[in-house]
Symmetry: C2
């Protein structure tokens, strides 16, 4: 229970985040969330009039931007795979909340689907910006490919929580980066 923590609205969101992520959106009822938040159902429905609103709030809160950094672009990209590896090793990893939401929600018009699309695109643009700094030939295409590797690690690690997948993805990313940079160098010569 989060009774000691801040305001009811935040306790509800924290409880929803925990339960939705750990057990799945469809697997968790609002009763359970209210109980976990130490809040009456009435209050929960005051803050979030429907479960769908709560789902949207859950994903919106998960929609984090990556803190910009002055570290070398290549380093930042590879470090991201290491972060994933750590999350998987931690044991509490349950896949990408956005992808999971798309899987669990049938209705393509649900706000969650648009959020998932935006999130993935935002991540792709993060790669793109870094790759532009590296002056690779086709930053857009390579950004998509790195994103695919990340997505692959997330799905694979959900099925089988083996940190080896993240390491393999990191190695593959290195190969792709090297190839893109070599091509550019070759072009320069």
């Amino acid at each position: 229970m989060y009774k000691s923590a801040a305001r009811p609205g935040e306790r509800i969101l924290a409880a929803a985040d925990k339960l939705f992520y750990e057990q799945g959106i469809r697997a968790v009822g609002v009763d359970t969330i209210a109980a976990e938040a130490g809040v009456s159902k009435r209050t929960l429905y005051n803050y979030y009039p429907t479960k769908d609103d709560l789902i949207a709030a859950y994903l919106t809160a998960r929609f984090k931007h990556i803190a910009p950094s002055d570290a070398p672009a290549r380093e930042q990209i590879l470090a991201y795979f290491e972060r994933i590896e750590a999350m998987v090793a931690d044991g509490s990893f349950r896949g990408c909340p956005f992808v999971n939401a798309v899987t669990e929600i049938g209705d393509r018009k649900h706000a969650a689907i648009a959020l998932a699309v935006q999130f993935k695109e935002q991540r792709r643009q993060w790669y793109r910006a870094l790759l532009e700094r590296l002056q690779v030939k086709d930053p857009d295409a390579l950004a998509t490919q790195l994103q695919l590797l990340v997505e692959g690690v997330l799905a694979t690690s959900l099925v089988r929580g083996d940190p080896g997948a993240a390491r393999a993805a990191r190695a593959a990313a290195e190969v792709l980066l090297d190839a893109a940079i070599a091509r550019k160098a070759r072009r320069k010569r």
Copy 2:
């Protein structure tokens, strides 16, 4: 309805496959499956005593091996990405049924989870065997990486049904294959 088709057992499985895949395992009730199969609920429960049995049967039926082929290994690997691209372009693509099942089923001891792990490993071994024929340096590691690309395409295409992801993955696979083969050639020299 599949009333005209073969035996009740098969009609039930066909209906379950369609509904589970299109709408999700948790989203579909046994009543709906029985109706879709043109079969009474009593009959459904004669063939599959619990919904979990039906889920397991659904995934078991989806557990296909790839037909062995004498085509060049590289060609076979790249063709697989093209198959996925076609599936995505078709519009009915809803992600990998095994990954979806893991997402939707909370219980890690459910038969479906073991099936999912086996399926992914079986696919990985398929790559491994092909890569051994190509005599790349570390077929096991590269098999994992190609598998990651595939998994990434499946997840990405679920969120956003853009066939471009499959094409990007194919291109990335080519780079990885070329790098692995070049390394081997370099070693030969």
